[in-house]
């Protein structure tokens, strides 16, 4: 043993202790002590025969401990491991190694028959530390209290029966290994391994079969009765423990006297908010919001306090009337509306007076019909428009006198709101005082309804208020540009009444340097009385701010706008001015609420950065003499700034009243020219410029018997309307609803070199017949021979006239031809890579007192 350190470690700690006190080699093999012995128990020591064990006896390696049916032994090893060996059992401690410094121990024992309870000390806390060999397999124990019962194995039949009888039937259980407490026991044998890892389970051996099952109560009871001693036996001590000794020993103090481990509080399975608490909290929040949302109810809904701007009608004596609002502090006031949602509130106006108005909670855009609200001795009715961010627009009227009350939080970031792509469609409400709605449903805005009283509006077409942002524009003050247009052509021939309204402008930074608003101009013209000339549309349209001032664009995303005359300008009104002698004029105003209904992101801006050429026509009145003229047009488009330029020139050879130059009209951004996309562009024509409206903005059906608005099956062409009212050149010239057509003109080098083609389409223009002037449409058919570079263009059913001319295009892609009183000029146009896919042109023709000019377009068949 003393030969090496390894040998020392292979010895037992107990041995070492003994050595320290009495270092006897003879005792060096001792591994444990018999700490309790009920006789009979015997020890068979190799080479020393059989000896009866007594309490305090050493237990050494390979010593076989046998007990008879009354025997019971507890062996305590130096590490604290205890074996309690039951009756009729046989246990051998094969080896035991303990290193107290490391706190590790290892024991191998063999139980060949009988019962035992293993209570682990250091051995069972050491990996692979406790191994017990049995006839049914090897049990590897880790951190556990384990019972092993080998049942009848190794028992003589009489012994087994005797034990069973003695213990009142608790014996006779099959061999098993039970995990009482601890980490694991693995029983390996008979080619299989069974692992117990949960206390209260046993491996039961039935012949060759082994099963893991919950430990039956009988196993516990039997084991307990075997190991708890027996009456009359005292484990070898002369003095038995007594009740009082136990009670006074201190064992009870930290054990049974400590009482049951308290179950209170029961730990929460889910720390934090429980599901019912979340439900309760969310429900309470929902109820609060619901109460606000629904308004009304018992006790009334929540009270609204909002700052409201009220626009009142400007008196006639001050230049007002006909719906003109504001213009003076008395007519432009603010106040605070206080009242419960769902009920009428009181709007106390600055400067005195109050007004009762219904109070609404925020909602998606909705129009409420209201009536019977008194102010200043009059009763007002109309619509209350409700939106988000407190947007409210009460558009009321008393007979011919409007009253607008406007509130709402201005859009915080107007340029940002309009920076998104696409063309925004704002649906406009009808004017409260003079609602004007076409049969097709479109509201006709910015128009004095009494002047259209005799006009059949069933064919009228009116656009939404269309807006597109200009985030890439060169003018940082401009956030967006917008346009609106409408057209009505009532009847044919000399009695025809026609009108075109266009309004264009921009949403730009206002004078305060921080607020944004829309400002635009009316344009267009009408010819409502065949006996008179045309009338030009003028005036300024603005968006109106609410009671808190600031930007006059409302809603979180710029969804709402209220458009009317400029209430801060005492001379602001819309005006219709006659272009004929007398210069009759009417001033008026209308008010409209715009609600963002949709954004068309499918639009294209392919015209941006390009110049498109084409042809134009117009019946131009110069100092009272009207003649039908034809000419050219050139348009240049600027997508970044959402604008375009247009130049209209008459043909040099045109016969008619002489003009100092060929230019008869133009427009640009100063004329309110707005290019939103390839379909939607228009100009209102202020500052001596012309108005222009692309036909797609207000697609009035004038072709094919009033069933189509398409000039031809040629989406690659654009056509539309234009007019002017200009006295800037020393003479008064005006034109009403002339036409133009533009396209991608085919370069001569791209013209087909041979073959023929036919083109079909329509023509539209203006007839001048004595004092009468009206719009007419017909069909156009053309045949072109690319080999001879000649062709023919014929126009049919144009106000009952058919006319045409042979044409030639010898040196260019422009064809011209004259047939008596008919002049035709046109060009071929491309549809992308498809060259000469279409034709476009202008004509003028005369038949006695009847004359006409117009434009045509056709698509190659």
């Amino acid at each position: 043993m003393g030969r090496s350190r390894t040998a020392l470690l292979a010895a037992t700690a107990l041995t070492a202790l003994i050595v320290a006190t009495n270092c006897s080699v003879a005792e060096a093999a001792r591994v444990g002590v018999a700490t309790a012995v009920n006789q009979d128990a015997q020890a068979r020591i190799p080479g020393q025969g059989v000896k009866t064990i007594a309490i305090g006896d050493d237990v050494i390696h390979n010593q076989v401990i046998d007990t008879n049916e009354g025997g019971l032994v507890q062996i305590l090893l130096a590490d604290g491991t205890a074996f309690t060996v039951g009756p009729n059992s046989s246990l051998t401690i094969d080896s035991f190694v303990y290193d107290p410094d490391a706190g590790t121990a290892k024991v191998v024992a063999s139980l060949s028959k009988g019962f035992m309870r293993f209570v682990g000390g250091k051995t069972s806390k050491t990996a692979g530390g406790a191994t017990i060999n049995t006839p049914v397999g090897t049990a590897g124990i880790r951190g556990a209290v384990v019972d092993i019962d080998l049942g009848a194995i190794g028992q003589r039949l009489g012994k087994a029966r005797s034990r069973k009888d003695k213990k009142g039937g608790h014996g006779g259980n099959p061999p098993h290994v039970s995990l009482i407490f601890g980490k694991e026991v693995t029983l390996t044998g008979n080619g299989a391994s069974h692992r117990l890892f949960q206390a209260g389970y046993s491996v039961i051996v039935d012949g060759d079969r082994r099963s893991v099952t919950r430990t039956p109560p009988a196993f516990q009871a039997a084991m307990q009765s075997q190991l708890a001693g027996r009456d009359g036996a005292h484990g070898g001590v002369s003095r038995q423990p007594q009740d009082g000794q136990v009670r006074g020993s201190g064992v009870t103090q930290h054990n049974s006297d400590a009482g049951l481990p308290a179950n209170i509080p029961v730990p929460e399975a889910r720390p934090g908010a429980l599901a019912q608490q979340t439900v309760a909290a969310d429900t309470r929040a929902a109820i609060v919001e619901e109460t606000i949302r629904k308004g009304g109810g018992e006790g009334g809904g929540p009270s609204l306090t909002s700052k409201v701007r009220v626009l009142l009608p400007l008196p006639v004596d001050d230049g007002g009337g006909n719906g003109i609002v504001g213009g003076s502090p008395e007519m432009d006031r603010t106040g605070t509306l206080i009242g419960r949602v769902g009920q009428d509130g009181t709007l106390a106006l600055g400067g005195g007076g109050s007004l009762s108005l219904p109070v609404y909670a925020d909602s998606a855009f909705k129009a409420h019909t209201v009536s019977g609200y008194a102010f200043g001795g009059s009763t007002y009715s109309g619509k209350a428009y409700v939106g988000l961010d407190g947007f409210r627009a009460y558009m009321l009227t008393n007979g011919t006198n409007p009253l607008y009350a406007i509130a709402g939080r201005p859009t915080a970031d107007v340029p940002g709101a309009f920076a998104t792509s696409g063309t925004r469609h704002y649906a406009l409400s009808a004017d409260a005082t003079n609602p004007l709605v076409g049969s097709l449903g479109g509201v006709i805005p910015f128009t004095y309804a009494p002047r259209l009283a005799g006009v059949d509006l069933s064919g009228a077409v009116s656009s939404d208020f269309l807006v597109a942002g200009t985030p890439g524009g060169s003018d940082p003050n401009v956030a967006a540009r917008g346009l609106q247009a409408w057209i009505v052509i009532d009847g044919t021939g000399p009695e025809q009444k026609s009108a075109l309204g266009v309004m264009t402008g921009a949403i730009s930074l206002l004078g305060d340097g921080k607020s944004y608003g829309f400002k635009g101009d009316r344009g267009g013209s009408d010819r409502l009385d065949p006996s008179d000339g045309s009338t030009a549309h003028k005036g300024t349209v603005v968006s109106v701010a609410g009671g808190d001032g600031g930007s006059s664009i409302f809603g979180p995303g710029g969804q709402y706008v209220v458009l009317t005359n400029d209430p801060e300008n005492p001379y602001s009104s819309f005006r219709d001015e006659a272009n004929y002698p007398g210069f009759d004029e009417v001033g008026f105003s209308t008010g409209h609420v715009g609600n963002l209904a949709s954004t068309d992101t499918s639009v294209t801006r392919n015209y941006g950065g390009r110049t498109l050429n084409g042809f134009s026509s117009i019946a131009l009145s110069v100092d009272g003499t009207t003649s039908a003229r034809a000419g050219t047009v050139k348009m240049q488009f600027d997508a970044a700034n959402a604008t375009f330029n247009a130049l209209f020139e008459q043909f040099a050879q045109f016969s008619g009243p002489p003009l100092p130059h060929n230019e008869i009209g133009f427009t640009d951004s100063y004329g309110g020219a707005v290019y939103l996309d390839d379909d939607n562009f228009a100009a209102s024509g202020k500052n001596h410029r012309s108005y222009v409206v692309n036909s797609k903005v207000a697609p009035v059906k004038i072709f094919n018997g009033g069933t189509s608005s398409e000039l031809c099956s040629c989406s690659y062409l654009s056509w539309g309307w234009w007019g002017s009212a200009d006295g800037g050149d020393g003479y008064w010239a005006s034109g009403h609803m002339g036409n133009w057509v533009i396209g991608d003109i085919t370069a001569n080098v791209d013209m087909p070199k041979n073959g023929t083609a036919t083109y079909d389409g329509n023509a539209v223009g203006t007839v001048v017949n004595g004092n009468a002037q009206y719009i007419a449409a017909g069909t156009m058919n053309a045949t072109m021979n690319f080999g001879t570079r000649t062709g023919n263009v014929s126009i049919s059913n144009f106000d009952g006239h058919n006319f045409g001319s042979d044409v030639s295009f010898a040196g260019s892609s422009t064809f011209t031809g004259t047939n008596g009183a008919t002049d035709i000029t046109g060009s071929f146009a491309n549809n992308g890579a498809d060259k000469a896919k279409g034709i476009l042109g202008a004509f003028s023709t005369t038949d006695g007192a009847w004359s006409a000019s117009g434009i045509f377009g056709g698509n190659r068949n």
Binding site: L8, L17, T35, A36, G56, Q74, L76, A82, P100, V119, G121, K125, V145, I180, K183, F197, A199, G200, T213, R214, Q220, Q224, L227, A228, R230, G236, V237, R239, Q245, V246, S249, G250, H254, N255, S256, A258, G259, A262, N263, I264, P265, V266, E268, A269, P271, G272, L274, Q276, A281, T283, R284, V288, G297, G301, S303, T305, S306, D362, S363, A364
Partner: protein, 448 residues
């Protein structure tokens, strides 16, 4: 010879008292443990040298019990029982030791044996009967545990009304009607939690079912009366079968329903999985993933409640530390993703929870069970997906802080009185979500 001496010194080394060897946390002050372990080592040697020295054996057993080496105490007392077969008090103490280990079946056999003959001290009989009752609910193929509470509480803002009578809706100030403003109220509540655990045939597989019920009725704000029940059930697997010692995996289905003032309010159905670990006897942690489809139901009183319906995905980390015999720290973190049918009601929410429970000796001789006081602190942050257009153009952002204080006064081992006070404050960019609420309550709880 020197080596023998070395080993001898090692045999009395106090390092044997390493806590990793203990079965249960010590019932001794930390400063006493080293001294006790030294004493235990000496006593152990005495027992080996003289196993019939009963005084040494009892002292060793007592100290082993005190420091948590229950196996050492068991081995010693089982030897004493061989010396004095059938001594009821020894059987009681052994039963309690096995009970403390969780070996309820073995404990039960000792308790049964302790009262099996007529000569049993009354004190022993009483204690045994308590433990037998406790074992009855824990042992066997099925067990039930839970609690039932009844109480009342006063809240300064029972309806969670906004802090101000004015709320700003889209830039405009609304004066709230009385029924939408914060209002105090007194309520009575009952709650019950039951957990049933059923052994399945395979080792380490259980079926757990838990039922939580809650009902609260208000003195004035009857529209807030709420009843709620939640049932979760599913198998629980001890992952030790795969060598993952002290890990469990619970898979469960969950269903719940709520009634608000007599009308159906909510119902939900879902499932979850919970992985729990207990690395030491003092530390438990787990991670949970759960999904629920939550439906809110419209009623005449609340016709828009269904706007709050949606799917909840929840992840949670929970942890519980027993810092000492009298101090427990609970920590949790939860992330919720609620996919509401209406975008403005959809949200992400993260919350953190910390709770500290301090157990201390009862100041009242008549109530000997230890008292405890718990401080809980939770903070959560919720970010809704989209704006509620009625209120704002911006989506709602809410931070909520909840502080709770609970004094538990055990009246018996099964009954306790709970005094609870709490304060909750919510900050939000929506005035409707800005409020606070203070709570004071008292309840009686029975644990079984």
């Amino acid at each position: 010879m020197a080596a023998c001496a070395f080993l001898s010194l090692g045999g009395v080394s106090a390092t044997e008292a390493a806590p990793r060897d203990l079965n249960r946390p010590p019932r001794a002050a930390a400063g006493d443990i080293q001294r006790i372990e030294a004493r235990r080592t000496a006593l152990f040697q005495v027992m080996l040298d003289d196993p019939s020295n009963l005084d040494a054996a009892f002292e060793y057993a007592a100290l082993s019990s005190q420091v948590g080496d229950l196996e050492g105490a068991i081995a010693t007392l089982e030897r004493m029982l061989i010396f004095a077969p059938g001594l009821p008090r020894l059987q009681l103490e052994l039963g309690v030791l096995y009970f403390r280990l969780g070996a309820y079946s073995t404990a039960g056999t000792y308790f049964d044996a302790a009262v099996s003959n007529g000569d049993v001290p009354e004190e022993v009989r009483n204690k045994v009967s308590q433990y037998q009752a406790a074992i009855a609910s824990r042992n066997g193929a099925s067990s039930y545990s839970g609690s039932f509470s009844i109480g009342t509480r006063y809240q300064t803002n029972a309806n969670g009304g906004p802090a101000s009578a004015f709320v700003n809706l889209n830039g405009l100030d609304y004066l709230l009607s009385e029924d939408a403003r914060k209002a105090p109220d007194l309520s009575g509540f009952i709650s019950g939690n039951v957990l049933g655990v059923f052994d399945l045939p395979a080792q380490g597989v259980e079926f757990k079912a838990s039922l939580r019920t809650y009902g609260e009725g208000y003195a004035k704000r009857e529209e807030l009366n709420l009843a709620y029940a939640e049932l979760a059930a599913g198998p629980s697997f001890d992952l030790n079968r795969f060598g993952l010692e002290n890990y469990t995996l619970d898979v469960y289905g969950i269903a719940s329903g709520g009634i608000l003032s007599g009308d159906p309010l909510t119902s939900s159905l879902g499932s979850g999985v919970f992985l729990g670990a207990r690395p030491t006897t003092d530390w438990f942690y787990g991670v949970r993933g759960e999904y629920r489809h939550e439906r809110y139901h419209d009623s005449d009183a609340h016709p828009q409640m269904s706007d709050k319906s949606g799917d909840r995905f929840q992840g949670q980390l929970v942890s519980s530390y027993r810092l000492s015999d009298s101090l427990t720290l609970d920590l949790a973190g939860t992330v919720d993703r609620f996919e509401a049918d209406i975008a403005r009601n959809a949200y992400w929410q993260a919350s953190g929870f910390a709770g500290l429970t301090i157990q201390y000796g009862s100041p009242l001789a008549g109530l000997p069970e230890p008292w405890s006081i718990s401080i809980t602190n939770q903070i959560s942050r919720r970010k809704n997906d989209a704006a509620d257009p009625m209120i704002s153009s911006a989506a709602q952002r809410t931070t909520m802080w909840t502080l709770g204080l609970t004094q538990t006064i055990p009246l018996t081992t099964e009954w306790a009185a709970l005094l609870q006070t709490g304060y909750q404050k919510s900050w939000s960019n929506y005035d409707t979500g800005t409020f606070d609420n203070a709570t004071l309550g008292i309840s009686l709880t029975k644990v079984f």
